[in-house]
């Protein structure tokens, strides 16, 4: 297999945990709430999903459990943030630490155990294509995540629900004035974001690397948070960003494996450098910044 083929084949799977978590965070931030606990919610989803998968041997139930765990953790965050107008940064960080700790606690007896991954789907004809065949042979979750991205892009652009979420994030006072239930929408978005983060963790622990090890999310939750900014709160760009990060994380290792003389640390830093560059670019132009970012992000709403 040529290095290019390998990168193409591995990219989508590597991107899936990032994509799921980033899509979740995107919905939360679009509704005007900043939840920095993604890393912890992913870890908790991963631990719970792994435990369920380990005992049942299946994956459907594991994904449901992982999503519920992420959602449950997110609701713990929603209570102080929405009901008591707590600082979202502080509450999000606290949630991250709490959920990360819980994942370590629940996962303790399962450390370094393994489960069976779900098989990849061979698509007749397409999977046999040269070069692209590997890329088109993925497990169902990968396709479902991409479908989710498309669905979300459509929802934000063309559905009443998407518009209401955006209104709540841009100007909650105005949305409230025309009768939109601001807090209820934000709560639903937080729950949905937690569920997707949990799903991302579940994919990481039961499909992508089918084993549990404490700390295995290894910063991917933070990348997901960065991706939302990287994608300037646009679903399509966030999805592209996740795929780009996936490609870079695989590419870094392929470059090393083929013996090209580039320092591995420099390659490992590349995705983060890209995020900083994008941040600098969108921040340098005030008008574009205002156009893209969510106006009331991080501001509590209430009487």
């Amino acid at each position: 297999m040529s290095p290019l083929e390998f990168i193409l084949a591995g990219t989508l799977a590597a991107a899936t945990p990032l994509l799921l978590a980033a899509l979740g965070e995107l919905v939360v931030e679009r509704s005007g709430v900043l939840n920095l606990g993604v890393e912890g919610m992913m870890a908790l989803g991963a631990a719970v999903a792994f435990i369920v998968s380990y005992h049942t041997g299946g994956h459907a139930l594991a994904f449901v459990a992982g999503a519920l765990a992420g959602m449950g953790a997110a609701l713990i965050f929603a209570v102080p943030v929405l009901m008591f107008r707590a600082n979202q940064v502080a509450a999000g960080l606290a949630l991250g630490i709490l959920a990360g700790g819980l994942s370590a606690l629940f996962g303790r007896p399962y450390e370094s155990l393994t489960v069976r991954a779900i098989p990849k789907i061979e698509i007749p004809l397409l999977s046999d294509l040269p070069i692209l065949g590997g890329m088109l042979t993925q497990d169902g979750v990968v396709w479902a995540s991409l479908a989710m991205a498309a669905l979300m892009a459509w929802a934000f652009r063309s559905t009443r629900l998407g518009w209401r979420i955006r209104a709540v994030g841009e100007n909650p006072a105005a949305a409230h004035a025309i009768g939109t239930p601001v807090l209820a929408i934000r709560a639903a978005c937080i729950a949905f974001g937690g569920a997707l983060a949990g799903l991302g963790g579940a994919y990481a622990a039961t499909v992508y690397t089918p084993l549990w090890a404490d700390g295995m999310i290894a910063g991917r939750g933070w990348i997901a948070v960065a991706l939302v900014v990287f994608g300037t709160w646009q679903t399509g760009r966030v999805a592209m960003g996740a795929i780009l990060f996936g490609a870079l994380s695989i590419g870094e290792l392929v470059v090393q494996a083929t013996g090209i003389a580039i320092p591995s640390q420099a390659l490992a830093a590349l995705p983060y450098l890209a995020t900083i560059v994008v941040l600098a670019l969108i921040s340098s132009n005030r008008a574009r910044m205002r156009l893209n970012s969510v106006a009331s992000l991080g501001e509590p709403f209430g009487r």
Binding site: S112, T114, T209, M216, S249, I250, L253, A257, Q265
Partner: protein
């Protein structure tokens, strides 16, 4: 008794950290021992071997062992080891290089406490670094790997480009060359002790490049080994056996058994004869061992491996004996010269046959 600090912080941070530490002030004379490890203690891996060794030592000297696992290197670790000493721990084992500075301060502050520190280089009267001569075992594993490789390409997924792991790759390559002079070893540094997903991707990348034997160099999770079984390539690793993750394709383990060393040191502490020294321990010290060889290794090669094992154990053979040529083709160690322990512990270049350039 073990306790996951992070788990505890997560569930009961309000209760305060002090009560989280399982060390008790006890009136009895039993030696209080503390072991600090950088990763969670699973059934396999580096932390696991330390726990095994420390438990055996505690049993042998009638001590009480507290395991403080998954402690991040840095201020956190410093505080936790200070706390352990303040609570009466007399014998402290620090399981990671990054605990060195905090450990030295601890040793200075508590002269009556004896400290063992993994893979460091600083020595104090009550502070001894210890490290395993993995290279003695990886040389033998390299021989087996070369015998089973059809493509002539072997891959290593390695943690950090530090001398300890550079030497283990180098010796692996030298051992492989003893069987097949044309063999090539590719290395991927994942820059983490603990990132199962990256380890897996790295192993996949190496396999895609035609490597058909994997050497998981100091990775504490079984992800490389489990992947190798899936992909149908042979794999070996350090520290503790992961045969159960690859029943068919497990090549073998370069294991470490710290029980004799820890026991002797704990005894020395109790007798007041503990002395700070640099312990670099190998097959002759019964710290490094090789085990769980795959049945597919040809018996002729197995015989040569056994001969080498005996020669290394008897001190008659050292893999790092000249002529050794580096990747640029320059002779670094002339014929007939053997590298000293100090030179081996500071090795920062790859031998010829390792195809990946060393990250600078």
């Amino acid at each position: 008794m073990t306790q996951t600090r992070r788990a505890f912080l997560g569930t009961a941070s309000a209760a305060g950290l002090a009560s989280a530490l399982p060390l008790k002030l006890s009136a009895q004379d039993a030696l209080q021992m503390a072991l600090v490890t950088p990763s969670p203690t699973a059934d396999v891996g580096w932390s696991h071997t330390l726990v095994e060794g420390a438990s055996a030592a505690a049993e042998a000297v009638g001590g009480e062992l507290s395991v403080l696992e998954n402690i991040a290197e840095g201020p956190d670790a410093d505080r936790i080891m200070q706390r352990a000493a303040a609570n009466g721990a007399g014998f402290v084992i620090l399981g990671s290089f990054g605990y060195m500075n905090g450990g030295l301060q601890l040793a200075q502050r508590y002269p009556q406490v004896s400290v063992l520190h993994a893979s460091g280089y600083q020595v104090a009267p009550n502070f001894s670094p210890f490290a395993a001569k993995y290279y003695q075992g990886t040389y033998l594993m390299g021989m087996a790997a070369a015998a089973l490789s059809k493509s002539g390409k072997i891959g290593s997924v390695s943690a950090f480009a530090i001398p300890e792991l550079i030497t283990s790759v180098n010796a692996f390559a030298l051992g492989a060359q003893a069987i097949n002079p044309e063999i090539e070893v590719s290395v991927v540094w994942v820059n983490s002790w603990f990132d199962p997903a990256s380890e897996r991707e790295a192993a996949q990348a190496l396999i895609s490049q035609g490597c058909d034997v994997m050497f998981s160099n100091a990775q504490d999770t079984p992800s490389v080994i489990a992947l190798a079984e899936e992909a149908g390539v042979y794999a070996c690793n350090l520290n503790s056996s992961m045969q159960s993750y690859a029943p068919n394709y497990y090549l073998g383990v370069v294991g470490t058994d710290w029980a004799p060393f820890f026991t002797a040191q704990a005894r020395a502490h109790l007798e007041g004869t503990f002395e700070g020294a640099n312990y670099y321990l190998g097959i002759a010290d019964e710290v490094v061992y090789v085990d769980d060889w795959n049945g597919d290794i040809p018996s002729e090669v197995m015989g040569r491996i056994d001969d080498r094992l005996a020669a290394i154990g008897a001190g008659e053979f050292n893999p790092f004996t000249g002529p050794l040529v580096d990747q640029a083709g320059e002779t670094r160690i002339p014929e007939g010269t053997t590298m000293t322990d100090q030179e081996i512990q500071g090795m920062d270049w790859h031998v010829a046959g390792v195809t990946t350039p060393l990250p600078s």
